[in-house]
């Protein structure tokens, strides 16, 4: 135990600088947020994540954001348990019929102002499940979506870039 703790102390941090890849699409979506909402978001975002029936790979990559390489909390991004504490609803999955109600209720439970981010091809447009009668075809089918982060699944870097772009100190 002591050795592991000691090693952790002397090991240089794993955490990497986020090198923003210029993405006109992200910049456009971020710019679309009005100045007032930017001010309110400030330098921190509380995120409530809802899996609306994803294949779980998007969750794997969202979970990876918490690992020491990406360490999303250093950007002021925090995954919160209650929708009452959240500024942003982060949706993955194609919105199955069976999850639509729970997704809407989570959104309703969030205090305004609130934003919706759709992460992954499924959430942005239904992805490979777009034609399924069991799915509604993505978050925009039931909620006003402020930002789309494509990818199947999006890499942690893409996810971070999208979320950071939402905030006022966006690249």
């Amino acid at each position: 135990m002591r050795k592991t703790l000691f090693d952790s102390l002397i090991h240089p941090p794993f955490t990497e600088r986020l090198v923003p890849v210029p993405d006109p699409e992200l910049a456009r979506m971020a710019a679309a947020l009005d100045a007032g909402s930017r001010r309110r978001l400030g330098r921190s975002l509380a995120i409530r994540m809802v899996d609306s029936g994803s294949c779980n790979a998007c969750e794997l990559e969202l979970n990876a954001l918490g690992n020491p390489f990406y360490d999303l909390e250093r950007f002021g991004l925090r995954i919160v348990a209650s929708p009452r504490h959240a500024d942003v609803l982060l949706v993955t999955g194609p919105v199955t019929r069976n999850m639509a109600q729970a997704l809407l209720r989570t959104h309703e439970a969030m205090p305004a102002p609130k934003w919706v981010v759709a992460a992954g091809d499924c959430a942005t447009c239904g992805g490979i499940f777009a034609d399924s009668p069991a799915c509604l075809g993505g978050a925009a089918a039931v909620l006003p979506v402020d930002m789309h982060i494509p990818g199947c699944p999006p890499t942690p870097t893409q996810l971070l870039a999208g979320l950071v772009a939402l905030m006022s100190r966006s690249p």
């Binding site: 135990m1 294949c55 020491p68 890499t155």
Partner: protein
């Protein structure tokens, strides 16, 4: 398709109930029902039964054999097939009815705690209904189906290429294993074998996937016992594997890299060298973490004895993966029935009898070393040659089935290809079908606070079982 008579269907049901056979899967079509079973004493002896049901009814298997209950409820929802005699006729995947009647629990001082489908944190959706006496859980009933995406419906009429992509998105954490099972089933139907190099590259990806998932699980289980340093360190190791996968196979999770007929891309000598180096580095850095686990009594205080799964239950449900193997089941599809290239490789299948959270964690720890050994062997002996053969034209309907060991257990894929090469019907059975019900059994008598720990030690797939 070889149709069986009702009598032999019923007889098979009795053998399942006796424990002479293990249920591998049960799935429907509008006018027939299929069931795959293996002999309990010889997992390589697999039988597929197809029972025509022109009236839309068949004698229930779940009536006598509990592991079939949810499969029959799902087949009723998806195909309108009525399992005659099944005591539980509530819908399973179909949530359109406004109310769902949870099973009644009676007794003094009991209270209910409903949890989900939206949980705290980043996990999949499912509903858990706890009945507790004080802190102690007396009954848990899960309600799943929230991830139901209609995958089997989308597969009907799809091309093989689309089918492979859909199979790889049934449960994203097992994307390689699913794509492999799908490809093997298609290849069995069409009667052709991919080139040796492709077969070995598939196994390399499958072991990388197992390694990444087990590393993630070991960290996450310890984290649910509030030992966060393991999560931090294991997630660093897991990230290392995913980055190498991205560098060598072009995708962190290796999605769509296994395709019918072979693999989508090759590895050069430099790529192989990177993977060998990754294996050595992972082993070197994982070892002290395990020593840390072994020396931390406060952590083992949470894992040892928690969530005990009786071997008899694991056997009756045919639970695969670390759940079955931690409760004494000798099972691993790589060995029983086995598929190429594993008979040519040297690896052990760890089987323990602890049956608790610690046992399930420890099976993973042992399997990490086995996967590392397999990765090194495969990288060292990768045969030369082509990586893909063209799918042959068949011109007639054909059926194929495959059983592949994913990180959480055996994945079964059965499909029928039509004469035009399109998929007529394809069924994907996640290992979680036979594991979820056992979670309800192991939590009994534990405190609610230990549920996350038990749940993580099972790590069943919601998406895979919800289809």
């Amino acid at each position: 398709m070889t149709a069986v008579a009702t009598a032999s269907w019923v007889e098979t049901t009795a053998l399942l109930a006796d424990g002479a056979l293990t249920l591998l899967g049960l799935w429907g079509e509008p006018d027939r029902v299929h069931m795959a079973v293996a002999e309990a004493a010889n997992a390589a002896a697999i039988r597929l039964l197809t029972l025509p049901c022109p009236l839309g009814r068949y004698p229930s298997v779940g009536r006598l054999h509990a592991s079939a209950i949810r499969l029959e409820r799902a087949a009723a929802d998806l195909w309108g097939l009525e399992p005659e005699g099944l005591p539980d006729t509530r819908p399973w995947l179909d949530h359109s009815a406004p109310d769902y009647a949870f099973l009644p629990v009676e007794g003094d001082n009991l209270h209910e705690v409903p949890v989900g489908p939206v949980h705290a944190g980043i996990i999949e959706p499912g509903h858990f209904r706890f009945t507790a006496d004080g802190e102690t859980v007396v009954r848990l009933e899960a309600r799943l189906g929230y991830c139901h995406k209609g995958i089997e419906r989308l597969l009907q009429g799809a091309s093989l290429a689309t089918g492979a992509r859909l199979a790889g998105r049934c449960s994203g954490d097992s994307t390689v294993a699913y794509a492999l099972a799908f490809a093997q089933a298609a290849e069995a139907a069409l009667g052709y074998v991919p080139p040796p190099r492709a077969v070995w590259l598939r196994a390399l990806m499958a072991e990388l996937e197992r390694l990444a998932n087990h590393l993630g699980d070991v960290g996450a289980i310890c984290n649910d016992a509030a030992f966060a340093i393991m999560l931090a360190n294991c997630s660093v190791l897991r990230e290392g594997v995913l980055r190498e996968a991205a560098a060598t196979f072009g995708h962190r999770l290796m999605m769509d890299r296994v395709v019918p007929g072979g693999v989508a891309l090759d590895l050069d000598a430099a790529g192989l060298a990177r993977i060998v180096a990754l294996a050595a580095e992972t082993r070197r850095r994982f070892r002290p973490l395990i020593a840390l686990y072994e020396k931390t009594a406060s952590l083992q205080d949470r894992t040892v004895g928690t969530g005990f799964l009786k071997p008899s239950l694991a056997e009756a449900f045919g639970a695969g993966g670390f759940i079955g193997r931690a409760s004494g089941r000798r099972c691993d599809a790589r060995r029983w029935p086995g598929y190429a290239p594993y008979p040519d490789l040297d690896f052990e299948v760890p089987v323990l009898t602890d049956g608790d959270v610690h046992g399930r964690l420890w099976v993973r720890v042992l399997e990490i070393e086995q996967s590392l050994r397999l990765i090194e062997q495969i990288a060292g002996r990768l045969p030369p040659g082509a990586i893909r053969t063209e799918t042959p034209e068949r011109g007639a309907t054909a059926e194929g089935m495959a059983l592949v060991e994913g990180f959480r257990g055996d994945i079964l894929v059965w499909l029928r290809l039509e004469a035009d090469g399109r998929i007529g019907r394809c069924h994907l059975r996640d290992p979680s079908w036979f594991q979820w019900p056992l979670l309800e059994a192991v939590i009994e008598g534990n405190i609610i606070a230990d549920f996350p720990l038990c749940n993580k030690s099972f790590n069943c797939s919601y998406s895979g079982a919800d289809l």
